[in-house]
Protein backbone atom coordinates (compact mmCIF):
# COMPACT_ATOMS: atom_id res chain seq x y z
CA UNK A 1 0.00 0.00 0.00
CA UNK A 2 1.25 3.44 -0.93
CA UNK A 3 1.59 5.78 2.01
CA UNK A 4 2.68 8.92 0.19
CA UNK A 5 2.32 9.73 -3.45
CA UNK A 6 3.33 13.08 -4.93
CA UNK A 7 3.24 14.24 -8.52
CA UNK A 8 4.58 17.59 -9.57
CA UNK A 9 4.68 18.88 -6.01
CA UNK A 10 5.61 22.56 -6.08
CA UNK A 11 5.95 25.24 -3.48
CA UNK A 12 7.36 28.72 -3.89
CA UNK A 13 7.96 31.41 -1.28
CA UNK A 14 7.93 34.55 -3.39
CA UNK A 15 10.76 34.15 -5.89
CA UNK A 16 12.35 31.27 -3.96
CA UNK A 17 11.30 27.87 -5.22
CA UNK A 18 11.37 25.44 -2.32
CA UNK A 19 9.90 22.45 -4.11
CA UNK A 20 10.32 22.22 -7.86
CA UNK A 21 8.09 19.51 -9.22
CA UNK A 22 8.77 16.67 -6.81
CA UNK A 23 7.53 13.19 -7.73
CA UNK A 24 7.73 10.53 -5.10
CA UNK A 25 6.09 7.38 -3.93
CA UNK A 26 6.64 5.82 -0.55
CA UNK A 27 5.32 2.39 0.27
CA UNK A 28 4.18 1.08 3.60
CA UNK A 29 6.69 -0.44 5.97
CA UNK A 30 9.68 1.60 4.88
CA UNK A 31 12.07 3.81 6.81
CA UNK A 32 13.04 6.58 4.47
CA UNK A 33 15.96 8.90 5.07
CA UNK A 34 15.34 12.25 3.40
CA UNK A 35 18.74 13.86 3.10
CA UNK A 36 19.57 17.30 1.78
CA UNK A 37 21.61 20.38 2.50
CA UNK A 38 20.09 23.29 4.41
CA UNK A 39 17.43 25.03 2.38
CA UNK A 40 17.08 22.08 -0.01
CA UNK A 41 13.33 21.82 0.59
CA UNK A 42 13.30 18.98 3.14
CA UNK A 43 11.21 20.78 5.70
CA UNK A 44 8.91 22.23 3.06
CA UNK A 45 8.31 18.74 1.67
CA UNK A 46 7.59 17.39 5.15
CA UNK A 47 5.33 20.35 5.95
CA UNK A 48 3.34 19.68 2.79
CA UNK A 49 3.03 15.99 3.72
CA UNK A 50 1.92 16.93 7.25
CA UNK A 51 -0.67 19.41 5.98
CA UNK A 52 1.12 22.34 7.60
CA UNK A 53 1.50 24.28 4.40
CA UNK A 54 -0.48 24.61 1.16
CA UNK A 55 1.20 23.51 -2.07
CA UNK A 56 0.71 23.14 -5.80
CA UNK A 57 0.58 19.80 -7.53
CA UNK A 58 -0.80 16.49 -6.47
CA UNK A 59 -0.14 14.94 -3.09
CA UNK A 60 -1.87 12.09 -1.36
CA UNK A 61 -0.94 10.91 2.10
CA UNK A 62 -2.66 7.68 3.14
CA UNK A 63 -5.00 8.38 0.27
CA UNK A 64 -6.00 11.80 1.54
CA UNK A 65 -5.21 15.39 0.64
CA UNK A 66 -3.11 16.55 3.61
CA UNK A 67 -4.08 20.22 3.33
CA UNK A 68 -7.84 19.87 3.05
CA UNK A 69 -8.22 16.72 5.16
CA UNK A 70 -5.61 17.49 7.79
CA UNK A 71 -7.87 17.13 10.82
CA UNK A 72 -8.77 13.60 9.84
CA UNK A 73 -5.30 12.63 8.70
CA UNK A 74 -3.64 13.58 11.98
CA UNK A 75 -5.16 10.52 13.66
CA UNK A 76 -2.95 8.35 11.48
CA UNK A 77 0.12 10.55 11.31
CA UNK A 78 2.47 11.61 14.00
CA UNK A 79 5.48 13.83 13.82
CA UNK A 80 8.36 15.25 15.77
CA UNK A 81 9.05 18.48 13.94
CA UNK A 82 12.11 19.50 15.85
CA UNK A 83 13.78 18.87 19.16
CA UNK A 84 12.38 20.89 22.03
CA UNK A 85 8.89 21.72 20.82
CA UNK A 86 7.27 20.32 23.92
CA UNK A 87 5.94 23.32 25.87
CA UNK A 88 8.29 24.13 28.69
CA UNK A 89 5.54 24.69 31.26
CA UNK A 90 3.89 21.30 30.90
CA UNK A 91 4.35 18.55 33.47
CA UNK A 92 5.12 15.03 32.29
CA UNK A 93 1.85 13.80 33.80
CA UNK A 94 -0.07 16.61 32.10
CA UNK A 95 1.46 15.78 28.73
CA UNK A 96 0.34 12.17 29.19
CA UNK A 97 -3.14 13.31 30.26
CA UNK A 98 -3.53 15.64 27.33
CA UNK A 99 -2.40 13.25 24.62
CA UNK A 100 -4.49 10.48 26.18
CA UNK A 101 -7.45 12.86 26.21
CA UNK A 102 -7.27 14.02 22.61
CA UNK A 103 -5.72 11.10 20.72
CA UNK A 104 -7.95 8.11 20.04
CA UNK A 105 -4.93 5.91 19.27
CA UNK A 106 -2.72 6.77 22.24
CA UNK A 107 -1.85 3.89 24.53
CA UNK A 108 -1.07 5.44 27.86
CA UNK A 109 0.25 2.27 29.45
CA UNK A 110 2.74 1.93 26.63
CA UNK A 111 3.98 5.50 27.12
CA UNK A 112 4.28 4.93 30.86
CA UNK A 113 6.28 1.79 30.08
CA UNK A 114 8.73 3.70 27.89
CA UNK A 115 9.07 6.41 30.54
CA UNK A 116 9.73 3.82 33.24
CA UNK A 117 12.96 2.98 31.45
CA UNK A 118 14.15 6.57 31.77
CA UNK A 119 14.87 8.72 34.79
CA UNK A 120 12.05 11.12 33.92
CA UNK A 121 9.69 11.74 36.83
CA UNK A 122 5.95 12.26 36.26
CA UNK A 123 5.91 15.42 38.36
CA UNK A 124 8.74 17.16 36.50
CA UNK A 125 8.07 20.04 34.21
CA UNK A 126 9.61 19.95 30.75
CA UNK A 127 11.71 23.01 31.62
CA UNK A 128 13.36 21.00 34.40
CA UNK A 129 14.41 18.18 32.05
CA UNK A 130 17.63 18.03 30.09
CA UNK A 131 17.43 18.27 26.30
CA UNK A 132 18.01 14.55 25.99
CA UNK A 133 15.23 13.77 28.45
CA UNK A 134 12.82 16.03 26.57
CA UNK A 135 13.59 14.06 23.42
CA UNK A 136 13.01 10.81 25.34
CA UNK A 137 9.68 12.11 26.61
CA UNK A 138 8.58 13.22 23.17
CA UNK A 139 9.58 9.88 21.69
CA UNK A 140 7.72 8.01 24.44
CA UNK A 141 4.57 10.01 23.65
CA UNK A 142 4.91 9.46 19.93
CA UNK A 143 5.76 5.77 20.10
CA UNK A 144 2.67 5.11 22.19
CA UNK A 145 0.53 6.44 19.34
CA UNK A 146 -0.53 3.75 16.92
CA UNK A 147 0.16 5.87 13.84
CA UNK A 148 0.71 4.61 10.32
CA UNK A 149 3.14 7.34 9.35
CA UNK A 150 5.73 8.89 11.61
CA UNK A 151 7.69 11.90 10.41
CA UNK A 152 10.85 12.91 12.22
CA UNK A 153 12.44 16.20 11.20
CA UNK A 154 15.86 16.50 12.83
CA UNK A 155 14.62 14.67 15.95
CA UNK A 156 18.03 14.39 17.58
CA UNK A 157 19.60 17.73 16.73
CA UNK A 158 21.81 18.92 19.56
CA UNK A 159 21.61 15.68 21.55
CA UNK A 160 24.72 13.86 22.62
CA UNK A 161 25.71 10.59 20.98
CA UNK A 162 24.29 8.37 23.73
CA UNK A 163 20.82 9.87 23.46
CA UNK A 164 20.99 9.82 19.67
CA UNK A 165 21.86 6.14 19.57
CA UNK A 166 19.23 5.29 22.15
CA UNK A 167 16.66 7.27 20.19
CA UNK A 168 17.09 5.28 17.01
CA UNK A 169 17.46 1.99 18.86
CA UNK A 170 14.11 2.47 20.61
CA UNK A 171 12.52 3.51 17.36
CA UNK A 172 13.66 0.32 15.65
CA UNK A 173 13.15 -2.12 18.49
CA UNK A 174 10.02 -0.80 20.17
CA UNK A 175 8.13 0.97 17.45
CA UNK A 176 8.85 0.02 13.90
CA UNK A 177 7.03 -2.82 12.26
CA UNK A 178 6.05 -3.61 8.72
CA UNK A 179 2.75 -1.80 8.92
CA UNK A 180 4.33 1.50 9.87
CA UNK A 181 6.26 3.95 7.79
CA UNK A 182 8.87 6.37 9.05
CA UNK A 183 10.40 9.36 7.31
CA UNK A 184 13.42 10.89 8.95
CA UNK A 185 15.58 13.87 8.07
CA UNK A 186 18.86 14.43 9.81
CA UNK A 187 22.30 15.82 9.30
CA UNK A 188 23.84 12.92 11.18
CA UNK A 189 23.50 10.73 8.11
CA UNK A 190 26.03 8.10 9.09
CA UNK A 191 24.23 7.38 12.34
CA UNK A 192 20.93 6.53 10.72
CA UNK A 193 22.37 4.68 7.75
CA UNK A 194 21.89 1.25 9.35
CA UNK A 195 18.33 2.15 10.31
CA UNK A 196 17.07 3.10 6.87
CA UNK A 197 15.43 0.94 4.24
CA UNK A 198 15.29 3.71 1.67
CA UNK A 199 17.26 6.75 0.77
CA UNK A 200 16.28 9.97 -0.92
CA UNK A 201 18.50 12.96 -1.66
CA UNK A 202 16.88 16.30 -2.20
CA UNK A 203 18.62 19.39 -3.50
CA UNK A 204 17.23 22.74 -4.57
CA UNK A 205 13.68 21.47 -4.45
CA UNK A 206 14.30 18.37 -6.56
CA UNK A 207 14.80 14.72 -5.76
CA UNK A 208 18.28 13.95 -7.08
CA UNK A 209 18.56 10.35 -5.92
CA UNK A 210 16.08 7.82 -4.72
CA UNK A 211 16.82 4.18 -4.02
CA UNK A 212 16.39 1.45 -1.47
CA UNK A 213 19.30 0.67 0.80
CA UNK A 214 19.67 -2.70 -0.94
CA UNK A 215 20.07 -0.91 -4.25
CA UNK A 216 22.42 1.54 -2.65
CA UNK A 217 24.64 -1.24 -1.36
CA UNK A 218 24.72 -3.13 -4.62
CA UNK A 219 25.08 -0.14 -6.85
CA UNK A 220 27.65 2.15 -5.27
CA UNK A 221 31.20 1.16 -4.51
CA UNK A 222 34.05 3.03 -2.95
CA UNK A 223 37.62 2.07 -3.74
CA UNK A 224 40.69 3.19 -1.85
CA UNK A 225 42.94 3.13 -4.86
CA UNK A 226 46.58 2.20 -4.57
CA UNK A 227 48.71 5.03 -6.00
CA UNK A 228 49.97 2.99 -8.95
CA UNK A 229 46.41 2.30 -10.18
CA UNK A 230 44.97 5.79 -9.87
CA UNK A 231 45.18 6.59 -13.59
CA UNK A 232 43.57 3.30 -14.60
CA UNK A 233 40.82 3.68 -12.01
CA UNK A 234 40.09 7.24 -13.12
CA UNK A 235 39.66 6.00 -16.66
CA UNK A 236 36.54 4.15 -15.51
CA UNK A 237 34.96 7.55 -14.75
CA UNK A 238 34.19 7.51 -11.05
CA UNK A 239 31.35 9.69 -9.76
CA UNK A 240 33.59 11.35 -7.29
CA UNK A 241 37.12 11.41 -6.04
CA UNK A 242 38.48 12.58 -2.73
CA UNK A 243 41.85 12.50 -1.05
CA UNK A 244 42.32 11.10 2.41
CA UNK A 245 45.79 11.19 3.91
CA UNK A 246 47.43 11.19 0.52
CA UNK A 247 45.36 8.36 -0.93
CA UNK A 248 42.65 8.66 -3.53
CA UNK A 249 39.23 7.34 -2.71
CA UNK A 250 37.08 6.89 -5.79
CA UNK A 251 33.35 6.38 -5.73
CA UNK A 252 31.78 4.40 -8.55
CA UNK A 253 28.26 3.91 -9.74
CA UNK A 254 28.33 0.31 -10.96
CA UNK A 255 25.49 1.08 -13.39
CA UNK A 256 27.85 3.24 -15.39
CA UNK A 257 30.57 0.58 -15.58
CA UNK A 258 30.64 -1.67 -18.61
CA UNK A 259 30.34 -4.90 -16.73
CA UNK A 260 28.51 -3.46 -13.74
CA UNK A 261 30.55 -5.67 -11.48
CA UNK A 262 32.46 -4.68 -8.40
CA UNK A 263 35.01 -7.42 -9.00
CA UNK A 264 36.56 -5.44 -11.82
CA UNK A 265 37.49 -2.77 -9.29
CA UNK A 266 39.17 -5.15 -6.87
CA UNK A 267 42.63 -4.95 -8.46
CA UNK A 268 42.80 -1.19 -7.81
CA UNK A 269 42.68 -1.44 -4.05
CA UNK A 270 40.33 -1.96 -1.14
CA UNK A 271 36.66 -2.08 -2.24
CA UNK A 272 33.74 -1.36 0.08
CA UNK A 273 30.26 0.14 0.30
CA UNK A 274 30.47 3.90 0.71
CA UNK A 275 28.93 5.88 3.51
CA UNK A 276 25.67 7.63 2.68
CA UNK A 277 27.35 10.94 3.46
CA UNK A 278 30.08 10.29 0.87
CA UNK A 279 27.52 9.41 -1.77
CA UNK A 280 25.60 12.51 -0.82
CA UNK A 281 28.65 14.70 -1.34
CA UNK A 282 29.36 12.97 -4.66
CA UNK A 283 25.80 13.31 -5.98
CA UNK A 284 25.41 16.90 -4.88
CA UNK A 285 28.83 17.82 -6.19
CA UNK A 286 27.86 16.47 -9.60
CA UNK A 287 24.55 18.29 -9.43
CA UNK A 288 26.32 21.55 -8.75
CA UNK A 289 28.74 21.12 -11.68
CA UNK A 290 25.89 20.14 -13.99
CA UNK A 291 23.93 23.18 -12.92
CA UNK A 292 26.94 25.36 -13.68
CA UNK A 293 27.30 23.66 -17.06
CA UNK A 294 23.70 24.47 -17.89
CA UNK A 295 24.11 28.03 -16.73
CA UNK A 296 27.47 28.26 -18.58
Amino acid sequence: MTVIEARGLRKAFGATIALDGVNLRIEEGRILGLIGPNGAGKSTALNAILGLTPYEGELKVLGRNPWTERDHLMRDICFIADVAVLPRWIRVSQALDYVAGVHPRFDRAKAEGFLARTTIRRTSKVRELSKGMVAQLHLALVMAIDARLLVLDEPTLGLDILYRKQFYDSLLNDYFDRSRTIIVTTHQVEEVQHVLTDLMFIDRGRIVLSCSMDEFESRYVEVTVNPEHVAAARALQPMHERQVIGRSILLFDLMTLDKGDRRQLAPFGEVRTPGVADLFVAVLGNQASQAQGVAQ
Binding site: R25, D82, I90, Y98, M200
Partner: protein, 305 residues
Protein backbone atom coordinates in the same frame (compact mmCIF):
# COMPACT_ATOMS: atom_id res chain seq x y z
CA UNK B 1 10.31 6.31 -5.61
CA UNK B 2 9.65 2.65 -6.07
CA UNK B 3 10.00 0.45 -3.08
CA UNK B 4 8.41 -2.91 -2.69
CA UNK B 5 6.65 -3.48 0.52
CA UNK B 6 8.02 -6.61 2.08
CA UNK B 7 5.63 -9.37 2.99
CA UNK B 8 3.30 -8.19 5.70
CA UNK B 9 3.17 -10.78 8.41
CA UNK B 10 -0.08 -11.29 10.23
CA UNK B 11 -1.38 -8.20 8.48
CA UNK B 12 -1.74 -5.68 11.32
CA UNK B 13 -3.12 -3.33 8.66
CA UNK B 14 -6.56 -4.87 8.95
CA UNK B 15 -6.80 -4.39 12.68
CA UNK B 16 -5.68 -0.78 12.22
CA UNK B 17 -8.35 -0.11 9.67
CA UNK B 18 -10.98 -1.12 12.19
CA UNK B 19 -9.27 0.54 15.10
CA UNK B 20 -10.01 4.25 14.67
CA UNK B 21 -12.05 4.95 17.71
CA UNK B 22 -14.56 7.67 17.06
CA UNK B 23 -13.84 10.33 19.60
CA UNK B 24 -16.36 13.06 20.04
CA UNK B 25 -15.27 16.63 19.49
CA UNK B 26 -16.18 17.37 23.09
CA UNK B 27 -13.26 15.50 24.55
CA UNK B 28 -10.46 17.33 22.70
CA UNK B 29 -12.23 20.58 23.59
CA UNK B 30 -12.44 19.68 27.26
CA UNK B 31 -8.78 18.72 27.42
CA UNK B 32 -7.77 21.82 25.50
CA UNK B 33 -9.54 24.03 28.02
CA UNK B 34 -7.80 22.17 30.85
CA UNK B 35 -4.54 22.63 28.99
CA UNK B 36 -5.14 26.40 29.02
CA UNK B 37 -5.65 26.30 32.78
CA UNK B 38 -2.42 24.31 33.25
CA UNK B 39 -0.47 26.78 31.20
CA UNK B 40 -2.08 29.98 32.46
CA UNK B 41 -2.44 29.46 36.15
CA UNK B 42 -3.03 33.19 36.60
CA UNK B 43 -6.58 32.51 35.38
CA UNK B 44 -7.46 31.21 38.82
CA UNK B 45 -4.53 32.32 40.96
CA UNK B 46 -5.04 36.04 40.29
CA UNK B 47 -8.76 36.10 41.26
CA UNK B 48 -8.02 33.89 44.28
CA UNK B 49 -5.21 36.16 45.40
CA UNK B 50 -7.33 39.30 44.98
CA UNK B 51 -10.24 37.65 46.81
CA UNK B 52 -7.90 36.61 49.60
CA UNK B 53 -6.53 40.13 49.94
CA UNK B 54 -10.00 41.69 49.87
CA UNK B 55 -11.17 39.25 52.53
CA UNK B 56 -8.10 39.94 54.63
CA UNK B 57 -8.63 43.70 54.38
CA UNK B 58 -12.29 43.39 55.18
CA UNK B 59 -11.62 41.16 58.18
CA UNK B 60 -8.97 43.53 59.54
CA UNK B 61 -11.23 46.54 59.23
CA UNK B 62 -14.18 44.64 60.75
CA UNK B 63 -12.18 43.36 63.69
CA UNK B 64 -10.58 46.77 64.25
CA UNK B 65 -14.10 48.19 64.22
CA UNK B 66 -15.07 46.26 67.35
CA UNK B 67 -13.22 48.69 69.59
CA UNK B 68 -14.32 51.81 67.76
CA UNK B 69 -17.28 54.10 68.39
CA UNK B 70 -19.43 54.38 66.41
CA UNK B 71 -19.23 50.92 65.04
CA UNK B 72 -17.71 50.93 61.56
CA UNK B 73 -19.76 47.92 60.55
CA UNK B 74 -23.17 49.25 59.83
CA UNK B 75 -25.74 46.43 59.75
CA UNK B 76 -28.32 48.76 58.25
CA UNK B 77 -26.16 49.54 55.19
CA UNK B 78 -24.31 46.27 54.64
CA UNK B 79 -24.06 46.30 50.85
CA UNK B 80 -21.10 48.62 50.30
CA UNK B 81 -18.07 46.40 51.13
CA UNK B 82 -19.57 43.50 49.18
CA UNK B 83 -20.02 45.70 46.11
CA UNK B 84 -16.50 47.00 46.50
CA UNK B 85 -15.08 43.47 46.68
CA UNK B 86 -17.18 42.28 43.73
CA UNK B 87 -16.05 45.28 41.66
CA UNK B 88 -12.46 44.42 42.46
CA UNK B 89 -13.05 40.87 41.21
CA UNK B 90 -14.58 42.16 37.97
CA UNK B 91 -11.58 44.39 37.39
CA UNK B 92 -9.28 41.42 38.05
CA UNK B 93 -11.22 39.36 35.54
CA UNK B 94 -10.77 42.04 32.88
CA UNK B 95 -7.03 42.35 33.52
CA UNK B 96 -6.51 38.57 33.47
CA UNK B 97 -8.57 38.26 30.27
CA UNK B 98 -6.50 40.90 28.50
CA UNK B 99 -3.20 39.28 29.42
CA UNK B 100 -4.52 35.85 28.56
CA UNK B 101 -6.00 36.79 25.17
CA UNK B 102 -2.92 38.65 23.98
CA UNK B 103 -0.70 35.66 24.70
CA UNK B 104 -3.05 32.80 23.82
CA UNK B 105 -2.17 32.32 20.15
CA UNK B 106 1.14 34.20 20.30
CA UNK B 107 2.94 32.26 23.04
CA UNK B 108 2.54 28.87 21.37
CA UNK B 109 4.21 30.23 18.23
CA UNK B 110 6.96 31.99 20.12
CA UNK B 111 7.96 28.91 22.14
CA UNK B 112 7.52 26.67 19.07
CA UNK B 113 5.15 24.39 20.96
CA UNK B 114 2.59 24.97 18.18
CA UNK B 115 4.48 22.23 16.32
CA UNK B 116 3.65 19.83 19.12
CA UNK B 117 0.00 20.86 19.35
CA UNK B 118 -0.35 20.56 15.60
CA UNK B 119 1.05 17.03 15.70
CA UNK B 120 -2.07 15.94 17.59
CA UNK B 121 -5.49 15.36 16.05
CA UNK B 122 -7.08 18.52 17.44
CA UNK B 123 -8.47 20.92 14.86
CA UNK B 124 -7.60 24.61 14.74
CA UNK B 125 -11.27 25.34 15.37
CA UNK B 126 -11.23 23.34 18.61
CA UNK B 127 -8.04 25.04 19.76
CA UNK B 128 -9.27 28.57 19.01
CA UNK B 129 -12.67 27.92 20.59
CA UNK B 130 -11.05 26.47 23.69
CA UNK B 131 -8.93 29.60 23.99
CA UNK B 132 -11.90 31.90 23.41
CA UNK B 133 -13.87 30.04 26.06
CA UNK B 134 -11.45 31.21 28.74
CA UNK B 135 -12.43 34.92 28.77
CA UNK B 136 -16.00 34.27 27.57
CA UNK B 137 -17.08 31.36 29.77
CA UNK B 138 -14.43 30.08 32.18
CA UNK B 139 -13.32 33.37 33.71
CA UNK B 140 -16.84 34.80 34.28
CA UNK B 141 -17.95 31.56 35.97
CA UNK B 142 -14.74 31.30 37.94
CA UNK B 143 -14.99 34.95 39.00
CA UNK B 144 -18.51 34.28 40.13
CA UNK B 145 -17.59 31.19 42.14
CA UNK B 146 -14.65 32.91 43.82
CA UNK B 147 -16.61 36.10 44.49
CA UNK B 148 -19.47 34.06 45.93
CA UNK B 149 -17.14 32.21 48.30
CA UNK B 150 -15.38 35.43 49.25
CA UNK B 151 -18.62 37.26 50.00
CA UNK B 152 -19.90 34.32 52.00
CA UNK B 153 -16.76 34.40 54.13
CA UNK B 154 -17.16 38.19 54.47
CA UNK B 155 -20.67 37.61 55.74
CA UNK B 156 -19.43 35.07 58.27
CA UNK B 157 -16.68 37.44 59.45
CA UNK B 158 -19.08 40.34 59.94
CA UNK B 159 -21.59 38.09 61.69
CA UNK B 160 -18.89 36.96 64.08
CA UNK B 161 -17.82 40.55 64.69
CA UNK B 162 -21.41 41.62 65.32
CA UNK B 163 -21.90 38.73 67.74
CA UNK B 164 -18.77 39.65 69.65
CA UNK B 165 -19.77 43.30 69.88
CA UNK B 166 -23.27 42.34 70.95
CA UNK B 167 -25.13 43.69 67.93
CA UNK B 168 -27.97 42.12 66.01
CA UNK B 169 -26.81 39.57 63.49
CA UNK B 170 -30.36 39.09 62.31
CA UNK B 171 -30.49 42.67 61.07
CA UNK B 172 -27.44 42.15 58.88
CA UNK B 173 -28.85 38.93 57.41
CA UNK B 174 -32.23 40.53 56.67
CA UNK B 175 -30.80 43.70 55.17
CA UNK B 176 -28.26 41.92 53.04
CA UNK B 177 -30.14 39.86 50.48
CA UNK B 178 -27.12 37.71 49.86
CA UNK B 179 -28.44 35.19 47.34
CA UNK B 180 -30.29 37.84 45.37
CA UNK B 181 -27.04 39.76 45.20
CA UNK B 182 -25.19 36.66 44.02
CA UNK B 183 -27.71 35.91 41.29
CA UNK B 184 -27.46 39.50 40.07
CA UNK B 185 -23.69 39.15 40.06
CA UNK B 186 -23.82 35.97 37.97
CA UNK B 187 -26.20 37.63 35.52
CA UNK B 188 -24.01 40.71 35.32
CA UNK B 189 -20.81 38.70 34.76
CA UNK B 190 -22.31 36.57 31.98
CA UNK B 191 -23.92 39.49 30.15
CA UNK B 192 -21.83 42.61 30.73
CA UNK B 193 -18.47 40.85 31.17
CA UNK B 194 -18.77 37.99 28.69
CA UNK B 195 -21.31 38.54 25.92
CA UNK B 196 -20.95 42.30 25.68
CA UNK B 197 -17.12 42.54 25.51
CA UNK B 198 -16.82 39.38 23.34
CA UNK B 199 -15.70 41.32 20.24
CA UNK B 200 -12.93 43.01 22.23
CA UNK B 201 -11.54 39.71 23.57
CA UNK B 202 -11.88 38.01 20.19
CA UNK B 203 -10.06 40.92 18.57
CA UNK B 204 -7.20 40.39 21.02
CA UNK B 205 -7.15 36.66 20.25
CA UNK B 206 -6.99 37.41 16.55
CA UNK B 207 -4.11 39.84 17.02
CA UNK B 208 -2.26 37.35 19.21
CA UNK B 209 -2.57 34.80 16.43
CA UNK B 210 -1.42 37.23 13.79
CA UNK B 211 1.36 39.42 15.19
CA UNK B 212 4.95 38.27 15.05
CA UNK B 213 5.95 40.46 17.97
CA UNK B 214 4.41 42.90 20.47
CA UNK B 215 0.78 41.71 20.26
CA UNK B 216 -0.21 44.30 22.84
CA UNK B 217 0.88 47.15 20.57
CA UNK B 218 -0.80 45.62 17.53
CA UNK B 219 -4.01 45.19 19.49
CA UNK B 220 -4.09 48.70 20.90
CA UNK B 221 -2.51 50.93 18.24
CA UNK B 222 -5.12 50.42 15.50
CA UNK B 223 -7.87 51.25 17.99
CA UNK B 224 -6.03 54.37 19.14
CA UNK B 225 -5.41 55.33 15.52
CA UNK B 226 -9.08 54.98 14.57
CA UNK B 227 -10.16 56.96 17.62
CA UNK B 228 -7.56 59.64 16.81
CA UNK B 229 -8.58 59.94 13.18
CA UNK B 230 -12.23 60.15 14.17
CA UNK B 231 -11.49 62.87 16.66
CA UNK B 232 -9.42 64.89 14.19
CA UNK B 233 -11.96 64.51 11.41
CA UNK B 234 -15.24 64.74 13.28
CA UNK B 235 -14.26 66.03 16.74
CA UNK B 236 -16.09 63.14 18.36
CA UNK B 237 -15.07 60.17 20.49
CA UNK B 238 -17.72 57.67 19.41
CA UNK B 239 -15.29 54.88 18.54
CA UNK B 240 -13.33 55.23 21.77
CA UNK B 241 -16.57 55.27 23.77
CA UNK B 242 -17.82 52.22 21.89
CA UNK B 243 -14.69 50.12 22.47
CA UNK B 244 -14.21 51.40 26.02
CA UNK B 245 -17.82 50.65 26.92
CA UNK B 246 -17.50 47.11 25.62
CA UNK B 247 -14.22 46.63 27.38
CA UNK B 248 -15.33 47.67 30.87
CA UNK B 249 -18.64 45.84 30.55
CA UNK B 250 -20.81 48.94 30.28
CA UNK B 251 -23.71 47.19 28.58
CA UNK B 252 -26.59 49.67 28.45
CA UNK B 253 -29.52 47.28 28.19
CA UNK B 254 -28.55 44.58 30.64
CA UNK B 255 -30.66 45.88 33.49
CA UNK B 256 -32.45 48.99 34.65
CA UNK B 257 -30.25 50.56 37.27
CA UNK B 258 -29.75 54.05 38.52
CA UNK B 259 -26.70 55.85 37.22
CA UNK B 260 -24.63 55.26 40.36
CA UNK B 261 -26.14 51.96 41.26
CA UNK B 262 -23.88 48.95 41.48
CA UNK B 263 -24.97 46.13 39.17
CA UNK B 264 -25.74 43.88 42.11
CA UNK B 265 -27.80 46.46 43.96
CA UNK B 266 -31.00 44.76 45.19
CA UNK B 267 -33.07 47.48 43.49
CA UNK B 268 -31.76 46.39 40.09
CA UNK B 269 -34.29 44.99 37.68
CA UNK B 270 -32.61 42.70 35.24
CA UNK B 271 -33.81 42.89 31.66
CA UNK B 272 -32.53 39.80 29.84
CA UNK B 273 -35.21 39.99 27.15
CA UNK B 274 -34.37 43.62 26.50
CA UNK B 275 -30.67 42.77 26.42
CA UNK B 276 -31.18 39.91 24.00
CA UNK B 277 -33.22 42.21 21.76
CA UNK B 278 -30.43 44.78 21.57
CA UNK B 279 -28.97 44.93 18.05
CA UNK B 280 -25.65 45.99 19.60
CA UNK B 281 -25.35 42.62 21.32
CA UNK B 282 -25.82 40.65 18.10
CA UNK B 283 -23.65 42.96 16.04
CA UNK B 284 -20.94 42.51 18.66
CA UNK B 285 -21.30 38.73 18.66
CA UNK B 286 -21.20 38.65 14.86
CA UNK B 287 -18.00 40.70 14.89
CA UNK B 288 -16.58 38.39 17.56
CA UNK B 289 -17.44 35.33 15.46
CA UNK B 290 -15.77 36.91 12.43
CA UNK B 291 -12.61 37.58 14.46
CA UNK B 292 -12.58 33.98 15.68
CA UNK B 293 -13.12 32.60 12.18
CA UNK B 294 -10.18 34.68 11.00
CA UNK B 295 -8.08 33.40 13.91
CA UNK B 296 -8.93 29.78 13.04
CA UNK B 297 -7.99 30.33 9.42
CA UNK B 298 -4.80 32.12 10.38
CA UNK B 299 -3.67 29.34 12.71
CA UNK B 300 -3.80 26.89 9.84
CA UNK B 301 -1.06 28.80 8.04
CA UNK B 302 0.96 29.77 11.09
CA UNK B 303 4.10 28.08 12.26
CA UNK B 304 6.57 28.99 14.95
CA UNK B 305 8.06 32.49 14.89
Amino acid sequence: MNTQSNAVHGSPVDSQAIAPAIMSEAEPFYWSVRRELWENRSIYIAPLAVAGLALFGFSLSSIAGIWEEPLRLNPAQPQAPYDMAAGLMMLTGIVVSVFYCLDALYGERRDRSILFWKSLPVSDLTIVLSKASIPLIVLPLLSFAITFAMQWLMLLVSSAVLLVSGQSVAMLWTNLSFFHMSLLLLYHLLTAHALWPAPVYCWMLLVSGWSRRAPFLWAVLPLVAIAGVENLALHTWHFAALVGGRFIGDAPAVASTGPDMFPTDPMTHIAPAHFLATPGLWIGLAVAAAFLAAAVRLRRYQGPI
